[in-house]
Symmetry: C2
Subunit: 428 residues, 2 copies
């Protein structure tokens, strides 16, 4: 028996019935002898509805006030979850981010946690109560104003609290039953992974897998906190995110050899910009990227063509979030007279596909299989980027699904039967 932190997302507490179901699960964990801390998101679409309300009043809501507004969402869900537990005969107390000691900087809408001082949570646990904590929110150290951590921040709240409380595990409940070897909507034979390493999970989150928030995984890795991603709609084991693959109850008695490749991720949210005919002189490419950085553009993948001997000019292509496209192009137009490049091309009909696996760093031949598979599926590659445990490429948007499916099959990730779906990623 130990200390369990559970996080329930908005779809798990969408209405009164869902809340009651979640309360049953929390109660079972408590009655099994654990201390339980629960982090909740706002119910269903509440956050979107609040943003819509703000937009009806002003086109540009101030950050401080928008945070005040949005934090009403978790306030509602946490109180209702506590009430539902009360109805099951258990004492539960709800706490705002501020009351739970989630101290952040003052960056409204995207605050970073700088300290967690969960004195009131520890006290509640010590008195036998279940603590229900509002996810996604904190209080700024300097101004004492309410802050939010940005979309998906409730995962980060859960992991940060679990780390500060030295919890045994942080369970992230969601509407899927774990992390899959690919998006099952694209690859019907995708398998649930029994475990992934922090590094793999980070690469997957950065490559478009939406199941866990990037900052939450970074936080878990820093504190070496086991995270268990699972469904609030079933009792099945989900996916364990840990540093030590031997951990995690699912593997007990099974082959625990690490597979080479864990997953294929994809991302439809990026666009590609090509700066045509940049003079191939020292400092010109740097000037391009400095202008983009000044405009606040998050650049992902970059490629520079070999420059033409005839013209002494090269093309630079890079990918970036579609949402940053307009401001990036505007920033480039502004420096065009200074740099003297020929043109700017904007292309949002692209997709990114990534292969992730901690095993690839020690297994040669992965790249060869990767590009063979894409070639076999007739997919043309536009930009390539690699890390020690990831290969990503930009392809045409209409080729994305085929690319994901081809890689999934080529790296033998397809589930072969029902058991493989449940305990995927092991026993190969």
């Amino acid at each position: 028996m130990g200390l369990v932190v559970q996080k329930y997302g908005g779809s798990s507490v969408a209405d009164a019935e869902s809340v009651k179901r979640v309360a049953q699960r929390i109660a079972a964990t408590k009655r099994a002898g654990n201390d339980v801390v629960v982090v909740v998101s706002a119910m269903g679409d509440t956050t979107d509805e609040l943003i819509e309300l703000a937009e009806q009043v002003t086109p540009i809501p101030g950050g401080r006030e928008l945070d005040m507004l949005l934090t009403a969402g978790e306030r509602i869900s946490m109180a209702v979850v506590a009430m539902a537990l009360g109805n099951l005969g258990l004492e539960a107390r709800s706490f705002t981010g501020s009351q739970a000691g989630v101290i952040t900087d003052s960056a409204h809408g995207k605050a970073r946690i700088i300290d967690v001082t969960p004195g009131r949570i520890s006290q509640a646990l010590g008195e036998g109560a279940i603590a229900i904590v509002a996810g996604f929110q904190g209080v700024s150290q300097d101004t004492k104003d309410i802050t939010t951590l940005g979309r998906g921040g409730s995962d980060t709240t859960a992991v940060a609290l679990a780390a500060a409380l030295e919890a045994d595990v942080c369970e992230i409940y969601t509407d899927v039953d774990g992390v899959y070897s690919a998006d099952p909507r694209v690859v019907p034979t995708a398998r649930k992974l029994a475990r992934v390493s922090y590094e793999e999970m980070l690469e997957m989150a950065a490559s478009g897998a939406k199941v866990l928030h990037l900052r939450c995984v970074e936080y878990a890795r820093r504190f070496d906190l086991p995270v268990h991603v699972r469904s609030s709609f079933s009792q099945r084991e989900g996916t364990w995110v840990t540093n030590t693959p031997q951990q995690g109850a699912a593997e007990e008695g099974q082959d625990v050899e690490q597979p080479i490749i864990s997953a294929v991720a994809h991302d439809r949210s990026e666009a590609k910009v090509t700066v045509v005919g940049v003079p191939d002189k020292p400092g010109e490419a740097a000037a391009v990227f400095r202008a983009l950085a000044d405009a606040g553009t998050n650049i992902d993948m970059i490629v520079q063509n070999v420059s033409s001997v005839a013209t002494g000019r090269a093309d630079i292509s890079f990918s970036l979030p579609k949402a940053d496209g307009q401001s990036a192009v505007a920033a480039l137009r502004k420096i065009q007279p200074t740099i003297g490049f020929d043109d700017i091309l904007f292309d949002d009909a692209i997709g990114k596909v990534s292969l992730i696996g901690a095993g690839m760093r020690s297994h040669p031949g992965v790249s060869a299989t990767f590009f063979d598979a894409l070639a076999g599926a007739g997919v043309n590659v536009e930009i390539i980027s690699t890390s020690e445990i990831r290969i990503s490429v930009i392809v045409r948007a209409e080729d994305l699904d085929a690319a994901v499916q081809a890689l999934h099959t080529a790296f033998e990730l397809d589930a072969t039967d029902e058991v493989a779906t449940v305990y995927a990623g092991t026993g190969r």
Copy 2:
């Protein structure tokens, strides 16, 4: 020029359009050179909707959690009002009850304010900002838990903040344009009162007039704070509640003699219980009322019949809120064997009508006119209760409207023309 506290009720901030309209009014007050503190209720029916949500989860929501839930309502409205002011180019900062320094006891759902320490409000005002404060809520001194002041508590928040900040006036904006000589739905000729004394307003609130919360008036009287009740839908003067009838801009240059009678109030929320055949011995009636007090019953009016010489027994009748009826009857049934009374009759087909006026204490003949008027309207009186500035009677529910109308006419309260409607209560 000065410090103005404004309170806007739920109907004044029911949707985005209303919020923008309210923001215009706040902006005008600020631009006229005033420091402005705004207290807001939850938007429209938000509080009812949150209560409904709680009831879907549990039949008996815990007080601490219900308060946490309900305070989400004002959190939404205050942030949205602050945003709307930002959109008009004014700096506005929202504050929760806790942030505004509204310190209460720990009685969840009906907490009483024990201190107001509005340091952050003063700081915001000093920096030229408009402070938007969540009504209805505070933080408990002992447990640091979020509390609510009970229904209508936003009025109390506004007056308490105004007193602590030594504001020049507390303006209570509502969906009616002031305090009327009777409910205009019952008496179409009712006049708006230009001013009423704290005492009269207290008696009116206690007698069923719903425009101001009883505790808010008590608070204003204790701190001698002028309260201006007015409509958020017009620019007209409303009703001034003060100790000094000479105050209030409306009366300038007019006859300021205090009228004898201010208003007729009515209340449909009470029921009547009759305990039949109580032995007429010392201590028996006391035992009845002790049992009711132990059951938490709020008794309003009481009458005891002259006891029968033949039986040595008397009947005791009293009025009480309908909501307390069931528990009161149960408490009485429990002591019936001990006391030995004959029966308990419960009657919820009653109404209470009250005549209120500070002038009646020095004017004889008010009672005679009162009962003459009711007799003339064929209304039978069941219980009578009086204070120095009020006469109340219980009548049949179906006679209530006729009783109100007859009294309103008999005491010459009917408006005679348009001017009288606007500046009612003066110039007679």
